[in-house]
Symmetry: C2
Subunit: 419 residues, 2 copies
């Protein structure tokens, strides 16, 4: 069969395992060199395609590509750049097709979340209209776990493992200090819209009095009085209180805790952080000594603690994306299907992009405990398998070894294009 | 020879490996059961001795004790409680001796930092005056690495490895996002007085342009204009800027950055956090989009990423403490002596407590780069060996497995004592 090139790009916030998906895509392309010629990666995601800033992946050795499996971040650069409405900004989409045409690219693998699924679908539709034979496959990724259809999103399991582990470890710390020192520890985690990551913190403990004593979800309106009662109860009964709070925690009226209208001495909005805000409330209302942590990028970059399941799934959706393309499927996304909870078994199936694009999956209410401050048994049954297994990266001189890419650029063939 | 009991207690902020020292002490006591009877642990440190709240460690299985080696936090409870001046508060010291006498305790192992070394010395001196035969040995511990005599302090190496790894991983993240999103990432680390932990962040990179681009030490007065110039330079030349900042960063006049006099809308002092303060300055002066993280307890509890060297040294000082006691040494501390940098070799030697107590070891100026914003070659040579090697704990259901102790209490023999 005829040989054509492939394009791969990373989109949106990166994860600890998005490069494992890249690894799956590239290795599978290399295994099918009779049909797929070169893989070109977009430098900084789709911007690389628009500006014809392409990385020639064929310049990277097999060892380097294999090392992507244990390298966090986005190896080819990602971007926060949403293509505009296709009706009024058709030029951008047409430019993509032009670039693909100029470089004989007939396979389009787009690794991202909900927005990029939408872009992938539109590119697929437009190429069909324009009569250019392009196979567009979306590769799922997001730490937020909010993609529909797929049982979970690659990237989430590793964050979940990191947050559950960190919650457990920090709880051991405060438990040993609480007699004379810190009584309350607050850990702020990602997930502005959905409480999946906060819920993962709940995996750290289970029995009566085991931390975390409170998980604060964006899905449950924040009630200061009720929260403080719980904190006081935990300190009085267990000696200390561990709280995992979502950055998206909000009041009944939708106002974020982290944006409570406070301003500093210069009149600037108080610098974010739900954790310090909540810790301040604890001090103010209850007088307890506190500590707080904000994991931020640390949580989604922590490949050193990647979940084995997550790494395997991230790799598998990369592999499946290429297989789907070679089988002639178009506008699809490899989705993870849960076959059973215990033992946990999963498989990959194809989902039509039209069903994926522009839909967010929130944490179902039944995964949250009735009182709203922890995960339910159903939530635990869903979350627990996703943090299973370890997949430590190789270390060198005490630090995780990272893939070091050449990132050789492909010669441009088209006039410049401004974004 | 006659058999007497031993007392072990943990003091001050706990570390990822203080329990490895406990493991070394207890296992070595068990191996010398002809001379050492039971090990009694102080519940919540020295408070346990004062209040006769003793844990009978003989009730714990060998497996449980072995598991201490990979369990963070302080297994028997620690405390922030400094014994007062011996001249005016002699009662407390005498009470310790009474409790020891009541339970036939003739070996006193105190696991802590500078303050507890001082307590240990005083207890030793007083017991001698009172004619009670007590052998007092201090077991070094502190994430701050500020103990004198010992080349490094057990607990520091694991924090250093965690911070270096987290800096490296988060740098991979921001590097891939910086084209269209976050330009500056700020990681706040512990170390209010000494920049050892901040310096460890410097191990993440070395070459021109490699992150972290700035390390901000408490030892170097903070100059906002100069720092912002550096941040701007990094963003313009490398696309992004990673900053590791010590919680103890301060201005020339000694004011901490985190306590810059700002108040919130309610008139309260702005809730701490050097990282959000510094990130706010970046936004204000340069307009760059930022992210910030505060690792807090996560860094010193992160046993999942313990440095092999650190775990081994923590265990070794525990073993040596018991050996010193059995050899009849008193008022000593096992100290780590560096034999060579590369290959890194170390041994344990005894140091007199009189030389250890109440002295802090700061980061030498020659370990900091001349410009003040990074570690020098000498600093790197000192720090690099301490993060070497991995010693992953066993995992169960996706989480690190922790020792679970019975913490059986010893029957009290004395009247109650109020602190």
């Amino acid at each position: 069969m005829a040989q054509h090139n492939a394009f791969y790009a990373q989109s949106g916030g990166v994860t600890a395992v998005i490069n494992a998906s890249a690894c799956g895509v590239i290795e599978t392309c290399r295994q099918n060199s009779d049909r797929i010629g070169k893989v070109y990666a977009g430098h900084n995601g789709i911007i690389g395609a628009l500006t014809e800033d392409l990385i020639d992946v064929s310049q990277e050795s097999d060892d380097t590509i294999a090392a992507l499996r244990h390298t966090p971040g986005g190896a080819f650069g990602s971007c926060r750049y949403k293509l505009k409405d296709i009706e009024s900004h058709r030029t951008q989409y047409e430019r993509l097709i032009e670039v693909f045409k100029a470089h004989d690219i007939r396979y389009f693998f787009y690794n991202g979340g909900g927005d990029s699924a939408d872009t992938c679908l539109k590119v697929s539709q437009l190429s069909e209209k324009m009569g250019y034979p392009l196979t567009a496959i979306h590769v799922p990724k997001t730490v937020d776990n909010d993609l529909p259809i797929t049982d979970n999103s690659p990237g989430f399991g590793s964050v979940a493992k990191y947050i559950a582990t960190s919650t457990l470890e920090a709880s051991m710390d405060i438990a040993s200090m609480c007699a004379t020192s810190t009584k309350v520890f607050v850990l702020e985690v990602m997930g502005r819209h959905a409480g999946w990551i906060a819920g993962a913190g709940g995996l750290a403990g289970q029995g009566e009095g085991e931390p975390p004593h409170l998980v604060i979800f964006p899905e449950i309106p924040f009630d200061r009085r009720q929260v403080m009662e719980r904190v006081e109860y935990a300190v009085k009964n267990y000696g200390y209180c561990v709280i995992v709070v979502s950055e998206g925690a909000r009041y009944e009226d939708g106002t974020f805790l982290a944006d409570s209208g406070n301003t500093d001495a210069f009149g600037h909005r108080q610098l974010g952080g739900v954790a310090p805000t909540l810790a301040g409330m604890v001090k103010q209302d209850l007088g307890y000594k506190y500590h707080w942590a904000v994991a931020d990028y640390l949580q989604r970059a922590a490949r050193h603690l990647g979940a084995k399941t997550d790494v395997e799934q991230a790799y598998a959706v990369g592999v499946k994306a290429v297989e789907l393309a070679l089988e002639g499927h178009n506008a699809q996304m490899p989705a993870i299907k849960r076959v059973s909870d215990n033992p946990y078994r999963w498989e990959i199936e194809a989902a039509p992009l039209a069903e994926v694009a522009n839909r967010e999956k929130f944490m179902p209410r039944e995964y949250i405990r009735e009182d709203g401050f922890g995960i339910s048994d159903a939530g635990r049954a869903y979350l627990a398998p996703l943090i299973q297994g370890e997949d430590f990266p190789p270390f060198e001189n005490g630090l995780p070894k990272m893939a070091r890419l050449k990132l050789a650029r492909v010669e441009k063939r088209l006039p410049a294009f401004s974004l």
